[in-house]
Symmetry: C2
Subunit: 464 residues, 2 copies
């Protein structure tokens, strides 16, 4: 036998042809076999190794298919690959144990979940099941722009509930606001690669613009919303029309008109993020900015707090100019949202269930916000400032405490409490406490527990 | 009554307070009410209109909430908004009838669907149902990087089936290759904003890079794959390791090594699109390039032809350097793939069902490609060149016909035949005929019909 390294072990449990295949690759990798070397014939090697010809043939075929060997008619098999300075086998990294050591969460004040009792899981499950019972629907790709049925339903819904002026051809579906922004930003050629947005309010949006190498013009806000004047040179404005760092009072109509006039002067495009815009419960929801100036506003709508957070469907309404541009390259974008979930949502909207859900949730969140407000007022010191932030489904507390945010976060974690967004400004600490994921009747004790185990001082005495 | 335009119609069916609200907005829009004007008191107006005080109060409250009016204590309600050069109501555009006049598709040669008989719908449906029976799972947001269960399953699967070296922390899930590229490109700061890729092979990928304002360096290909030398200055290389315009022979190992050496010299990153790489049926699948150089290759994997085209889940394996960068900003990206579908897929992989499906499909597609090849050979003229393109699940035919592509497409459409990709080069016309969406026993008659109704000449005699 010419090549003693071409051996196989019959009892190893690995298929013989795979062993042989590996040995040849390894030999080439180590330089034992060099480009141009002739390999033993199939018959010869099968006799030397006492294996079937099929075994050798399979190994050689695969090696030829991958370019390690060539089969020269009438002459035999030759090494084609050169010795490589690369590993011939992938290293088998063991998958490491989960780093996410999950503590049991007793109370979730973050906005990362919703109250299971008020989701429409059963109904949604039935809709999903119905979709799966139409095989032709889920064995084919969806429309890049999103399913027509959903776009039609959203057109009607957004007009009725948010005053948005759309038609289905100008609606684009996507798996979340970021996925939509990725498509949208590609259409904004000619708007100068600079975007103005309220500082710190929507980091995920900022990230996408930065990824697209946009400059960000940070805007401040007063109690009426973002402050905008002609010193702002960007021609792309990202605005949340129903909330900001300052709170969740809707932008008053004068400010809205001012924003639109600014955009007209600058020939700018406005991207309106209407996150939870329909979830106002103390007054009728304020119509979207888009309804005032559909030719210049891109409207972004989503559903995570209305349906299930696990369903990733958002939509945007493009002004006619951008929808023309989109149509030209539509075929170059794949849809990101699940087709089955899109069709379920279309049905959910059309049969009136979303309206019903909206009514239920407005009522629920109105009650919950009142309970949370009262509980905070009761448990926390009297100098704590408490505000209800409607569309974010939370109350904000402003506290004057010496304890650092890190320390407070650590205490919360140790107590099984998940905190939401918190920040520090002008010596005050701000905490956004969401009531979305805590059941109504648990709110008082949750807030009480939060105060006692995280905020109450002197903390040291209690535990040591 | 001071303002006769503030009237309501009791029999109109529209809520009275909404009518009143609309009338005030309209009056401001028309200039009939000007900034600073005082409105009638609630009591006065309710008497004038013979409506309840609550009606007027509700309308005024809403108008105040939106900034049209202000309520000055002890003085009354005043107009705050200025006359706006904007419509006060969104125009109610009727949604136009669908432009997509759907012709019944008899035979689908495009790659837009799969054979319903060979999908795993029932099993998949059960998995989805199981997920929905765990409410805590779907009432909370998913992990931005993708569900841990799925990342672990993919780590094991991609190693075993594709020779990919990964660990779950370096895997990022997304709703399709494009969604992943959007995240990835954001991480490629410092690689010079220029990407090299095979010309015309993957327009959707090109689009994303262009949207991110990358220059594209178009590469040609010979029979072994893309041609790469030091004149290529890009430091981002996008490559499909298991197919190209030239066909679907795997890139031979020499060429692979050459690509990796090129990347090392240029300090470049390689993005390997392994589209359908596991779906080889004439030989054992060729391991992914990533296994040869995990420190420099980003691996992209997807499932659309293995599962259901309507399920949008892809994944990428980042090299350690990029995964560190990703971890820093992970929280700024939302996950795009449906959480329910991710968890179903994790289960589908872990219980071995994906392996089973892969075996079934390899066998099925091997048979179908043989039938399609034979049918084309039988029906089409003998000078037609036919190739099987494995990973694309199609055969490619090269024809010498005078008839224009447009005319051929039109004929196909009229005959209820959906054509796949076609192009013209050096006087020859290329057609990619997918067999994925046509049942095995229908292929012969589908191909026969395709030839007779679309390609056969003289076409005129037959129909006129």
């Amino acid at each position: 036998m010419l090549y003693e390294f071409l051996s196989v072990e019959k009892s190893s449990g690995v298929l013989l042809y795979e062993q042989l295949y590996d040995k040849v690759r390894l030999a080439i990798g180590k330089g034992l076999l060099k480009k141009g070397d002739k390999l033993p014939s199939i018959r010869r090697l099968s006799e030397d190794l006492s294996v079937s010809r099929t075994t050798v043939e399979s190994a050689y075929d695969q090696l030829c298919a991958e370019g390690y060997l060539s089969n020269r008619p009438q002459r035999g098999f030759f090494v084609e690959a050169e010795q490589l300075d690369i590993p011939t086998s992938p290293s088998h990294l063991p998958s490491e144990p989960s780093r996410l050591h999950k503590t049991l969460v007793r109370y979730d004040f973050s906005s990362s979940s919703v109250d299971p009792e008020y989701t429409d899981i059963k109904f949604w499950q039935r809709l999903i099941k119905d979709v799966y019972e139409k095989p032709y629907v889920i064995t084919s790709y969806g429309q890049p722009q999103g399913e027509k049925e959903l776009r039609s339903a959203l057109c009607e819904y957004s007009r009725r509930v948010r005053g948005v002026s759309a038609d289905p051809d100008r609606i684009v579906i996507g798996a979340g606001t970021q996925a939509l922004l990725s498509v949208l930003i590609g259409l904004l050629d000619g708007y100068g690669y600079s975007a103005a947005m309220e500082q710190g309010f929507f980091p995920q949006g900022e990230q996408i613009f930065r990824d697209f190498r946009y400059d960000i013009t940070p805007l401040s806000a007063d109690k009426e919303g973002i402050i905008l004047d002609d010193s702002v040179r960007s021609r792309v404005l990202f605005v949340n029309s129903s909330g900001s760092m300052r709170g969740s009072a809707p932008i008053p109509v004068n400010k809205r008109a001012q924003i639109i006039r600014w955009a007209k002067r600058r020939d700018a495009v406005i991207i309106e993020d209407d996150f939870n815009g329909e979830l106002r419960y103390t007054s009728k929801p304020v119509p979207a900015l888009q309804g005032m100036c559909g030719s210049r506003v891109v409207y972004l709508g989503s559903f995570s707090k209305l349906l299930l957070p696990s369903v990733r469907i958002s939509y945007m309404v493009l002004p006619p100019s951008l929808s023309g541009r989109y149509a030209e390259r539509c075929s170059n974008y794949n849809q990101t949202a699940s087709k089955a979930e899109q069709l379920a949502l279309a049905q959910y909207i059309s049969c009136g269930r979303l309206d019903r859900q909206l009514r239920r949730l407005r009522k629920l969140y109105s009650e919950k916000s009142a309970v949370m407000y009262a509980s905070v007022k009761e448990c926390f010191p009297s100098d704590t400032i408490v505000d209800v932030i409607e569309t974010a489904l939370c109350v904000r507390i402003k506290l004057n405490t010496e304890t650092s945010l890190d320390e407070l976060r650590k205490r919360a974690e140790n107590s099984g409490i998940r905190l939401g967004k918190c920040r520090e400004k002008n010596g005050l600490k701000y905490f956004y406490l969401s009531f979305a994921g805590i059941a109504s009747d648990e709110i008082p004790q949750a807030v009480n527990c939060l105060y006692r185990e995280v905020f109450q001082e002197p903390f040291v005495e209690k535990y040591h």
